[in-house]
């Protein structure tokens, strides 16, 4: 029973669907070697963090460009029209580019603001990983949910939370998306269905599984028309945590509409993934629980997007969860307080050559999807958006003192009964700084 379910790995998603169905029936119990994956270098890539081999560097950077053009070549063979041989249309390309540039520009501005003292506490930046966020989240509807970790600014931006609100939240102002009460690590937006922002690693995974559970419950018990999907983003370190495995089990058991997205950037603060994990190939942990495990090059937004498309479609059809491991890299330290001394500079340099934004720009220009001028215009626009966000945040007021006691409970009587025998929340002085709680 478990065979076809456990061993089915989505592979070569870029091949047209007709060939894929044939492969599906063939792949029963066949674990595909990672070399057949587009962009997958899982066997050899893990050694990068230990070795500084220049040969690997050149091979890998060659892969990124080569594979894209391989795919393009393949598609050209299969279709006649030049336009449909590309992975994306012009509009899609510009949307993806703009989203990634926004993520990058925003995070760079965060670093600046932090060092100027406008932002404080723990700030974890997403530079380098934009392809994962953009590749996945831009395929979602507004009602779909995203659950993230403390590295959540760019997930919030991709999901649609305005840059102004995110920046204000980081500055701790009352105009932030959580009125300044959450902060960098706790971005929530009910409107955009961003369910956090969690500081504890692994905490978001059961919450995401719960949101997927709700989706299924709404469809099957409440008989509503609901095919909402949830995406759970988390890192390589989290994949050793108990909650991760508990949720893989329950999601597969109950066939929940969720995609588990591992942003494997090889490092958990200063702990290399290889030092912490008995079997570093995270995608393998999916089939152990009865769901497909996919590995994808997380520095290439187009590949991520193709895999994401299939995984999300699978979940929407009701076929259950997927585990997607995205090989990616963070260009900065774990947080702005991390001196980032343990990572090998050669490794960092290597991944800098695989910058996802540069790769997409190259793809767009090489395939004449847009001109250099249009891309520059987007970059300029984003710069203005980010500048505007900073200005807005700067000028916004800090929360009033009375805000301290607000929002603890949805039902304010939860503060109990005051000395005068009435509910405390009815006391007009309740939310002033002098109120006794």
């Amino acid at each position: 029973m478990a065979c076809s379910a456990t061993a089915k790995i989505i592979h070569n998603p870029l091949l047209l669907s007709s060939s894929r169905s044939a492969e599906k029936s063939d792949s029963c119990c066949k674990m595909l070697g990672p070399s057949s994956f587009l962009g997958s270098t899982s066997m050899s890539k893990k050694l990068v963090s230990v070795n500084k081999g220049a040969s690997r560097v050149s091979r890998r950077s060659a892969n990124v460009v080569a594979v894209s053009s391989d795919v393009v070549k393949e598609k050209k063979l299969k279709s006649s029209s030049a336009a449909s041989s590309l992975l994306i249309t012009k509009e899609e390309g510009l949307v993806l580019y703009e989203d990634m540039v926004l993520g990058r520009a925003f995070e760079d501005m965060c670093a600046q603001m932090y060092y100027r003292g406008k932002m404080f506490g723990f700030v974890h930046l997403y530079n380098g990983q934009e392809a994962v966020s953009t590749g996945f989240i831009k395929l979602l509807k507004k009602e779909d949910c995203v659950v993230s970790t403390y590295r959540d600014h760019v997930h919030a931006l991709s999901k649609g939370v305005p840059a102004r609100e995110v920046m204000s939240e980081l500055f701790g102002k009352t105009t932030g998306c959580c009125r300044g009460q959450g902060g960098s690590m706790h971005m929530f937006s009910k409107e955009h269905n961003l369910l956090g922002g969690f500081a504890f690693i692994g905490e978001g995974i059961p919450v995401a599984t719960g949101a997927a559970f709700t989706s299924k419950y709404k469809r099957e018990v409440l008989k509503e028309d609901c095919d909402e999907v949830t995406l759970a983003f988390f890192g390589d370190g989290t994949c050793n945590n108990g909650q991760f495995f508990e949720c893989l089990n329950m999601a597969a058991l109950w066939k929940l509409p969720i995609v588990f997205v591992v942003e494997n950037n090889l490092w958990a603060i200063g702990m290399s993934h290889l030092r912490a994990t008995s079997d570093p190939q995270i995608w393998k942990k999916g089939p152990a629980f009865g769901m497909p495990g996919v590995h994808v090059d997380g520095m290439d937004v187009l590949k991520v997007r193709e895999v994401a498309n299939e995984a999300i479609a699978r979940a929407r059809r009701g076929e259950g969860p997927t585990l997607v491991e995205c090989e990616t890299y963070r260009f900065r330290g774990h947080s702005l307080a991390d001196p980032d001394e343990l990572r090998d500079p050669a490794e960092k340099a290597h991944y800098a050559t695989r910058d996802p934004i540069t790769a997409l720009k190259k793809y767009i220009l090489e395939n004449n999807l847009a001109s250099e001028a249009e891309l520059k215009a987007i970059e300029k626009k984003i710069d203005e958006v980010v500048e505007d966000a900073v200005e807005f945040a700067d000028e916004s007021p800090v929360p009033a003192r009375s805000q301290l006691l607000e929002n603890v409970f949805a039902d304010p009587r939860g503060f109990g009964i005051g000395p005068d025998g009435k509910y405390r929340c009815e006391d007009p002085k309740f939310t002033e700084g002098t109120a006794q709680v």
Binding site: Q181, E203, G210, A211, T214, M250, A410, G416
Partner: protein
């Protein structure tokens, strides 16, 4: 418990029937005479049943809640009535399924998560506190979490240290949570219904030894829209000389102690806290201002306990009304032993309460 009472009866020379009457009178004290009795187990079952039938978004999730009919049979019959999607048996993954419950609550459902005992909630406490209790605040009111965590709390009989801890003080110190501790069947029904309807996370601490106890219930309590307010304590027995606060099983002990004290001419007022967070300090203070003496009773350890909090608030608000220092009766400051005689002395008993009350009544004479 009853063995002890009978011993006392023998040495005091009271005949058994009046003592029996006294015990039943304790239970019947404050209710109208509808004559109907209900066990706490049935009360919880009926509350769950009614809330699940009223709102299809309410569902029950936990270990053995479905086919096993509940580890303590609290969810008996619910699987058959509502089906396996609404009464979910889970694998043994507290952190996982608690988190799933919280995520479901974030996104619109109303889960009731059952812990087989609250000791197991420690494996899931990250979700109870960090993703449930704090979320409404962190999201500035956008994400409320209408979830109930329920299960037996505190010592049972001979279950050993890892199954006997009382968590009232632990959960009572978390902003964002509401913590309820029912005693009688009426409490169980009213508070569980209120908890399920409440839009905030509620920790509902039951007691295994109370499940089988029968209490009379009024017709009003049997109505399907019956709800008790969260944050209001109940005065189970009125009195003038000393206030005894207690919650959960200790309310029964306090009431028995009050009976014994009454025979010695000390009129004790027994307060059933019903709610640890928010704590009904106004009822407690009003009572202390009337009686001028206070004994707090709890099963947990004294340090940082519920009694400690009550003492602090009474000293803050009603210091000048106190005629004697406050007595704090709590469990022994040890993990729960297994041996039956040791377990008995590790938990407060009725005579501990009686002695404490007498101490503070005589102290000023």
């Amino acid at each position: 418990m009853f063995g002890f009472i009978r011993q006392r009866a023998a040495c005091r020379g009271n005949h058994a029937s009046s003592l029996e009457r006294g015990i039943r009178a304790t239970a019947l004290r404050t209710f109208s005479s509808s004559g109907k009795e209900m066990t706490v187990r049935d009360a919880l079952n009926s509350a769950l049943d009614e809330e699940m039938s009223a709102d299809p978004k309410v569902f029950l999730m936990g270990e053995e809640v479905g086919e096993y009919q509940g580890a303590y049979k609290i969810s008996r019959g619910l699987l058959k009535k509502y089906g396996p999607e609404r009464v979910r048996d889970t694998p043994i993954t507290e952190a996982g399924f608690t988190g799933i419950g919280v995520g479901a609550a974030y996104y619109g459902l109303k889960p009731v998560i059952e812990f087989m005992t609250f000791n197991f909630s420690m494996q899931a406490i990250d979700h109870i506190i960090n993703s449930a209790a704090k979320s409404n605040y962190m999201s500035a009111g956008q994400i409320s979490v209408p979830i109930v965590f329920r299960g037996p709390n505190g010592a049972a009989a001979g279950v050993g240290a890892q199954h006997s801890q009382c968590f009232a003080a632990w959960y009572g110190s978390c902003p964002g949570l509401k913590v309820l501790v029912p005693y009688s069947s009426e409490d169980a029904r009213g508070l569980l219904k209120a908890a399920i309807r409440d839009p905030d996370p509620v920790v509902f601490l039951e007691n295994e030894l109370l499940y089988g106890e029968s209490f009379p219930v009024s017709a009003e309590a049997l109505d399907s829209s019956f709800c008790l307010p969260i944050g209001k304590a109940k005065i189970e027995r009125e009195g003038n000389d000393v206030t005894i606060t207690a919650f959960s099983k200790m309310v029964g002990y306090a009431l028995k102690a009050a009976e014994i004290l009454a025979k010695e001419g000390i009129s004790a007022e027994v307060i059933n806290l019903r709610s640890i967070r928010p704590l009904d300090t106004s009822t407690i203070n009003a009572s202390v201002r009337k009686t001028n003496r206070l004994v707090t009773v709890e099963e947990g350890v004294p340090q940082h306990g519920v009694g400690a909090e009550i003492c602090a608030t009474v000293v803050e608000e009603s210091f000048y009304y106190l005629d004697a220092p406050i007595e704090r009766i709590a469990g022994a400051d040890v993990p729960m032993p297994y041996a039956a005689n040791l377990e008995r002395i590790a938990v407060p008993q009725v005579d501990d309460i009686v002695r404490a009350a007498k101490r503070i009544c005589y102290r000023s004479h």
